[in-house]
Amino acid sequence: MKRLRWGGTWLVTVFAVVGALVVGAVLIAIGDARTRDAATYFFTYPWDTFTEAGYAVRDAYVALVQGAVFNPNLSGTAALGPISETLVNATPLILTGLAVALSFRVGLFNIGAQGQIIAGAIVAAYVGFTFDLPVGLHLVVALVGGILGGTLWGGIVGWLKARTGAHEVITTIMLNYVAINLLTFLLGLEGFQRPPYGQAISESVAASARLPHLLGSSLRVHLGLLLALAAAVGVWWLFTRSTLGFRLRAVGANPDAARTAGMAVGRLQIAAMAMAGGLAGLAGASQVLGVTGSVTGSVAGTIGFDAITVALLGRNNPYGVIAAGLLFGGMRAGSVQMQSSTGVPVDLVGVLQALVVLFIAAPALVRAVFRLKPGGAKAVGSELAAGWTR
């Protein structure tokens, strides 16, 4: 039992993170000007190169942690700033990570979270700046609107898959571009664009539709975080406690068997994609109503793609998604501090993120590198259909 755990999931995840940080350290050293200078006289004083590299790596990673968790130089409310930024970054990642994880569990690969976020953001923003409703109700209507926008965008994918067999990887990628172009179109449209029509930015959402801040107005963390956590619990409940969740898992495990057992596979696929889209749409709404207050072309950033890594690192388990979302959200938040105080570009975090997932996707590689015993860790993504057909 103990041996199994040592070779198992957790250790592979830990070593994947360690491995990514090591590769990241090499990149930091290469990017550091002083290290490169020291390397020019490597054969005279080889140790200099290593000390300079050590300083660069230490400074960068310390700044990363300071920006994400705790900075001893800050006091009072500002001391909570890093944590607040981590949570702000984690909120959409958790919601969208759930969207991707949910569809993974049903055997569908949702690369379309990006488009679903945009669809949700568009509807939520539109409700937010056109409707005139009392405080509270306005927020609820805007959130529901965002969810419906995402549901529609995801539901189309499920419908196409169920009715025509169109592969969801392709349709989601294509719908991402359709969503971006739709947003570009709307951002040039009177009634959606903010006067004086110079910039591609939407009207501002009314105060009554904004998500309230959780820790005072100076910290950006907002109610969306609690919605994300609630959504995670909801997804957990769906998959472990409900009949619908059982059916969805059955379709994910073996669609043919599910069909033989009398389940409406097509309808379940549509339902799964619609729910996934709804979660991503909620993420878009939460960004607009909680963080930006308006829509721009970059409202989705790279959240939709980061969410795939979040879902994979969280192994498609709602609580795993929360943990992965917090980790990657923290890395995003910390990277800003890292860039401003040590000059290491924020993009380093993207590399780390990709490497972590690459390593956990190939447990055999991690085991070979760290000489772990073979164990129970399943390769990430093994629940998905391998090819285009099916």
Partner: protein
Amino acid sequence: MDPVSAQTPPVAVPDAVVVHERVEPVIGVRRRVVTGLLLVVVGLVTVLGWGFGSGTGDATFRFGGGAAIALPDLTVPGTTTPVLLGAVVLALGVFQLVRGFRLRRTPVLIGVTLACFVIAFLAWAMSGRDGGSIDVVQLLQSTVFLATPLILGALAGVLGERSGVVNVAIEGQMLTGAFAGALVATLAGSLGAGVVGAVLAGALVGWVLAVFAIRYQVNQVILGVVLNAAALGFTGWAYKALMQTNTERYNSPGVLEPLPIPGLADLPVVGPLLFRANVVVYLMYVLIVALQVVLFRTRWGLRTRAVGEHPKAAATVGIPVLRVRYVNVVVAGGMAGLAGAYLSIGTIGPFTENMSAGKGFIALAAVIFGRWSPKGAVGASLLFGFFAALQTLVGILPTPGAVPSSFLAMLPYLATIFAVAGFVGRVRPPAASGEPYP
């Protein structure tokens, strides 16, 4: 010794492949109706939107493009032309609804419909005032220009998938190629070295894809997504850490000059269109022909397709499945890297962050739209390139009404969705595409 040709001349393995392709599938009634209705809608839009909604001016199509020998201009009435072309599409739609075209005529059907629609649209767009004109050759030139990276990327996708490896990492290979092209060209002071560097960098990413997909059997779509993220992060990091701090030393490669081919370059229309390009484009011509020939006329191509359709059968007759896949995926990576070279040193010179901007994903769409064949992939890429070119052109024409160019930009993506949904015919991927082989 080659087991396939020695024992059973090209029968055993390809048989299963070829038979599938020769069968003329019975066209479903629903697909016939849906396709027919789509054509009728397109026809109505053409007649009502572009025909009766047009201005009074004439439309002039020019065929210059800077050729030494130019063709005369073609001036057509701005109203009658769209109406006539729309009528043609309507007729096609009605025929499809009533009788139904043979399935293998589908590409022709789509081609004619699109041509009618686009020409009608252009006539409408120029009819806003008298003297509206466009240079067709220039439009096609920018089509080729925008399609080149798509074609190279799509060829990479075709080669990978034909051998059974899904390559979603075309985007990452392009981006890495663009980066390496600019970096190597600057460091070596030679653009030729830059092109080689880009190809090698793309091949390197292809090799990583191959190792993880074939040896560690990681799900290939996930792998592609992850490699794209890694490439975006790595090139973004290197751009800021190296190139931005010292542009002179790391990111000032210069641009590949066009090399007009003597004689051919002076031909009207085709001269400026095809024979005044830089070395990457000429390499692309070679690759298009080479891939089509290699895949369908050589032993290696036969083996590649066998491995992509039925690896077990291929292994049974002695084809080294894994080696075929490794080689094809690495070579494909090199092609996508070449596409990247075109983006940086082939057009503007220096590398910029995320300069592939989703072109790899469009190339992936072109692979599927082109039904996993090199010819089809080229056609699909040209179509996508044409719509991108049209989008920029429409902005400067005196259109009688507003055309949201965002909707034009959506068309290729919507077309791909229709394609995979089966509205425009059967789309069948290589059977073992994405399946790891033990």
